[in-house]
């Protein structure tokens, strides 16, 4: 039995040694938000965050993630309020078929958590592992830039409040 922490909740799981994080999420826990399009680490569709780092769940062994904080698309919104990235993807028309979007957003989040004001080069570099066949990336770039601004403003607001308190 191992314990995995996924979206701040603990799960006790009886796993075979070779099972991937993707298999655990989709098949054991029924968390179907995370998709995959190749299962061999080429498309980025299965990206989740492990200890804040964008991680390909199709090649990450679940057992190796014990003790780490795993975050998936299902845990991104704050209650009913969408995460700024989710809202920006909607507002900027960055979503077409939606299949790449959970992985894409998780990669974007890992980038923005480190740097809410990435340059165009940094955005393109961070997303180069995530395939999108519908949208041609341009609206995704716009959405990230906008979400970064919102996140930065939120952080500034929060630190202002902290100082006041």
């Amino acid at each position: 039995m191992i314990t995995l922490e996924i979206n701040q909740r603990q799960y006790q799981l009886d796993l075979k040694g070779h099972e991937t994080l993707l298999e655990v999420l989709r098949d054991h826990l029924g968390m179907k938000g995370t998709k995959t399009a190749c299962e061999e680490s080429e498309c980025g569709t299965c990206t989740v965050a492990v200890d804040g780092k964008a991680t390909l769940s199709c090649i990450a062994l679940a057992a190796n993630c014990e003790g780490m904080k795993i975050n998936t698309i299902e845990g991104l919104a704050n209650g009913e309020e969408l995460h700024p990235l989710q809202q920006a993807f909607l507002d900027y028309g960055a979503v077409q078929c939606g299949f790449c979007i959970p992985g894409m957003i998780m990669s974007c989040k890992a980038l923005l958590d480190k740097n809410p004001e990435p340059s165009q080069e940094e955005i393109e570099y961070a997303l180069d592992g995530n395939l999108c066949r519908c949208a041609g990336y341009l609206k995704i770039f716009e959405a990230i830039r906008h979400a970064g601004k919102v996140i930065k403003a939120q952080c500034e607001q929060a630190s202002l409040l902290d100082r006041r308190n």
């Binding site: 029924g30 968390m31 179907k32 938000g33 995370t34 998709k35 399009a37 190749c38 299962e39 061999e40 080429e42 498309c43 569709t45 998936t72 698309i73 299902e74 991104l76 919104a77 969408l82 990235l85 989710q86 809202q87 993807f89 909607l90 507002d91 900027y92 028309g93 979503v95 077409q96 078929c97 939606g98 299949f99 790449c100 979007i101 959970p102 957003i105 955005i123 393109e124 570099y125 997303l127 180069d128 592992g129 995530n130 395939l131 999108c132 066949r133 519908c134 949208a135 041609g136 990336y137 341009l138 609206k139 995704i140 770039f141």
Partner: protein
């Protein structure tokens, strides 16, 4: 309806970039795809595939596999009705050539000869290894030109493996060609490519054995077409088959047809006593056993006058069809006949050959023959213009089609914004400041133009779509459409059309689409037809619903319904726009004691076209036509052979943008797909007919790095036939991309590339040849 949920911003939604109706599900992971469907007791199915490119099936022994614990069902051809299926059944009945499960012969590596279902994927895979098949290998042919030789292996019964010959002939090109001041011929090669939709082909089939009903949850682009093929091959009544399309992770033409997997999942379910069976392709199977874009050898010859008048054109198109016909014949027809929408040409002859090879099946892919043709024709046009010393813009403006004309093959063009598209693309890109002016920087600019249909009537004799708009007692509005949203946003656009016509907020609409048992018939998502055709059906359904509401309001108020309208959530008197009552009140009235009137609007639309005669190429294929001009600016690195795209411009006659942001999304996505085909994509096969690059590591797709900025320019020609003036537009933006880039590369460094994709080695080679040629010319001078 609770007013708190209504957003006044979203009244009159046509022309506004409202958010996707299904967007929240997609950004939160809650959207449900066929990929995500799961049931208790669901079995996992796997296809049994041929390892040979061409072989006779001598025997299949499944005994060992059947004994494997966990295996629940195995099917082979003996369990089937041996009924063939195909996609050009209506126009080319002899091309219906594929069995869902082959019994006598296999024709490509991956051909399906059976299927297994087991309690999990591991056991299903294991079972595949326990099936004993005896084959007698036959000589195979992989090259399309080799396949046409008289002594080539015969794949089907067709002479020289030519499944279809399409002769398209108008006027007298041979005679007129002699009157030309300049004639040139060019030969181009456009390779096979793959859709590479991120969601693989996936289905869950369930055959309830006692009630004899089939349900298929599928990643299809055309649920009604899938239903038809399933009913036919499974020998069951159409109304006993239900195909349900959920969210679809991209299609691009690859999910237009029923595949053997769909057939197998249902039949396995029957054999397993009615348990649902899921079959999901892995990425390798996607490249082998779905569909691919036809590789084409495109030869074109033109004769022009000194003043730039295009007099005559002749040519030949050889299309590599792979093992079966699929949509091939009509793809070939489109590859030849698209030119009539773009150029006024009176004397024309082109012959197309759709040829079998022992490779995976070529079918429909976004652009439908137009991408290969666009590369050839638009590159060729630039060369012709240059040879007579004419600016490529001036040359095109002289020869393009215009509004309100009938083409030589009887296409009826009404609105046509092509001239405006070219002019706007030229002006936005600063064409005349750049063309020929940046060679010292190895920079260049090039153009390509294109036109597209919206609907094609290539699947059935009609191409109608139906819609139902139901308005409930609480004012909620349900739109039922058979149209299949595969990510392009048709549910959103159709909901906008319904809301706008009904006079209510877009927030009211709940859209149910693509379920063959619930929604009206629709031929599917292809040929850029949905906004135009399904949009027109939806417009009519909303109009009908509105009329029913107004009839009740008029009666109650002793007015004539013709005096009333609904706009921005209010019932108004037309004469002075005064408000009579709000929409919710009107619905309360409809469902009140005295009236009890159910509001159910219906709409049907079939575009005004004429049948195409494929013996001549004559016919008005579409109810309207869309146009565009695309400009590319490039910088070539002469040392490495790499091309940097600096910027692209796409001016597009879309009639009217129902949702401008979604239109931009289609332009950008389509154009970037065109960039991939120009520089990266080429589905190759090894000497045994297996894909040489059938995975995402080796089949390279456009990624985020290097995506150029794209300026989308919308030209609104307001088509009188389109819903609110709209035309279809999802495919056109990748038709001229390769040529625009090729022409820009020529402007930059003076090389003409006639073989896609433009890899650095080809560019270096062409640069070296050019240098050699120039040195030789200098030496002889």
């Amino acid at each position: 309806m609770k007013t708190a949920t209504l957003n006044k911003e979203y009244v009159n939604p046509v022309g506004k970039s409202v958010p996707r109706i299904d967007g929240k599900g997609m950004v939160t992971g809650q959207a449900k795809y066929a990929f995500d469907v799961s049931f208790p007791n669901m079995l996992i199915g796997k296809m049994i595939r041929s390892p040979h490119p061409h072989a006779k099936i001598l025997s299949i022994d499944t005994t060992r596999a059947e004994k494997l614990p966990g295996v629940r069902a195995i099917i082979t051809a003996k369990d089937t009705y041996n009924i063939k299926f195909g996609s050009n059944e209506y126009f080319f009945p002899h091309t219906v050539d594929q069995m869902a499960i082959e019994s006598e012969k296999v024709r490509y590596v991956g051909d399906e000869i059976g299927a297994v279902a087991a309690i999990d994927e591991e056991i299903a895979e294991q079972a595949l290894g326990l099936i004993d098949v005896q084959y007698e290998p036959l000589p195979a042919v992989f090259d399309v030109q080799e396949a046409m030789k008289p002594d080539a292996p015969q794949i089907h019964e067709s002479l020289n493996n030519i499944a279809v010959i399409l002769p398209v002939n108008f006027g007298n090109p041979d005679r007129v060609m002699k009157e030309a001041d300049y004639v040139r011929e060019d030969r181009f090669y456009a390779p096979a490519a793959h859709h590479a939709a991120l969601e693989p082909h996936v289905c869950v089939g369930q055959w309830e054995t006692f009630s004899n009903k089939i349900t298929l949850w599928s990643s299809t682009q055309a649920p009604f077409k899938c239903r038809e093929a399933l009913a036919k091959t499974l020998n069951i009544d159409l109304n006993d088959v239900r195909v349900i399309k959920l969210a679809v992770g991209g299609g691009f033409g690859g999910k237009l047809e029923m595949l053997p997997m769909d057939f197998a999942s249902c039949l396995l379910s029957k054999k397993a006593g009615g348990l649902p069976v899921k079959i999901c392709y892995n990425r390798e199977e996607e490249f082998i056993a779905s569909r691919r874009k036809h590789g084409m050898i495109y030869t074109v010859k033109s004769g022009v006058k000194k003043d730039g008048t295009l007099l005559a054109m002749t040519g030949e198109v050889i299309a590599d069809g792979g093992a079966y016909c699929s949509y091939g014949p009509t793809v070939l027809a489109a590859a030849i006949m698209r030119i009539f929408m773009v150029y006024k040409i009176q004397h024309f002859r082109m012959t197309g050959y759709r040829v079998y090879t022992n490779t995976p099946i070529s079918g429909a892919m976004r652009g439908f023959g137009g991408v290969q043709a666009g590369f050839a024709i638009e590159s060729h046009m630039d060369m012709v213009a240059e040879a007579i010393g004419m600016d490529p813009i001036v040359f095109r403006l002289k020869n393009i089609t215009g509004p309100n004309m009938v083409t030589i093959n009887k296409m009826v063009i009404t609105t046509n914004g092509l001239r405006e598209c070219i002019e706007k693309a030229v002006s936005a890109s600063d064409w005349y400041k750049k063309r020929g002016q940046q060679k010292h920087l190895c920079r260049g600019i090039g153009i390509g133009i294109a036109a597209d249909v919206m609907g094609s009537k290539m699947y059935k004799s009609h191409e109608s779509a139906g819609s139902i708009v139901k308005v409930e007692e609480d004012g909620s509005v349900y739109l039922f459409t058979g149209a299949a949203d595969t990510g392009q946003g048709s549910n959103t656009a159709l909901s906008q059309i319904a809301a706008h016509e009904l006079g209510v907020s877009y927030n009211r609409i709940r859209c149910k689409s693509g379920d063959t048992e619930i929604t009206p018939f629709d031929t599917g998502s292809f040929a850029s037809r949905v906004t135009f055709i399904s949009g027109n059906a939806t417009l009519r359904a909303a109009r009908d619903a509105k009329q029913q509401i107004l009839d009740v309001v008029a009666k109650e108020n002793n007015l004539n319904a013709a005096e009333l309208d609904i706009a921005a959530e209010e019932v108004i008197l037309k004469k002075d726009n005064s408000i009579l009552m709000d929409f919710d009140k009107a619905l309360e009235l409809c469902y009140s004691f005295n009236y009890g009137r159910q509001i159910i609007g219906r709409g049907s639309y079939n575009p005004p076209t004429t049948p195409i005669d494929f013996r001549t190429g004559e016919g008005n294929v579409s109810g309207s036509y869309g146009f565009e001009a695309q400009v590319a600016e490039v910088e070539v690195n002469k040392e490495t052979g790499e091309v940097k795209l600096l910027k692209m411009w796409d001016a597009h006659d879309i009639g009217k943008a129902i949702n401008p942001q979604a239109v931009e999304g289609q332009i950008e996505g389509s154009l970037v797909m065109g960039i991939g085909y120009t520089f990266l994509e080429n589905l190759r096969f090894d000497q045994k007919g297996r894909p040489a690059n059938g995975n995402f590591a080796n089949y390279r797709l456009p990624r985020s790095m290097g995506t150029p900025p794209v300026e989308s320019i919308m030209v609104e020609s307001n088509d009188p036939e389109g819903p609110f003036g709209a035309k279809g537009m999802g495919e056109a933006s990748l038709l001229p991309t390769s040529a625009a880039i090729a022409n820009a590369i020529y402007d930059a460094v003076g090389i003409r590339l006639k073989e896609l994709p433009f890899t650095p080695d080809k560019i270096i080679k062409a640069l070296m040849e050019k240098e050699k040629f120039e040195l030789a010319a200098q030496a002889s001078a």
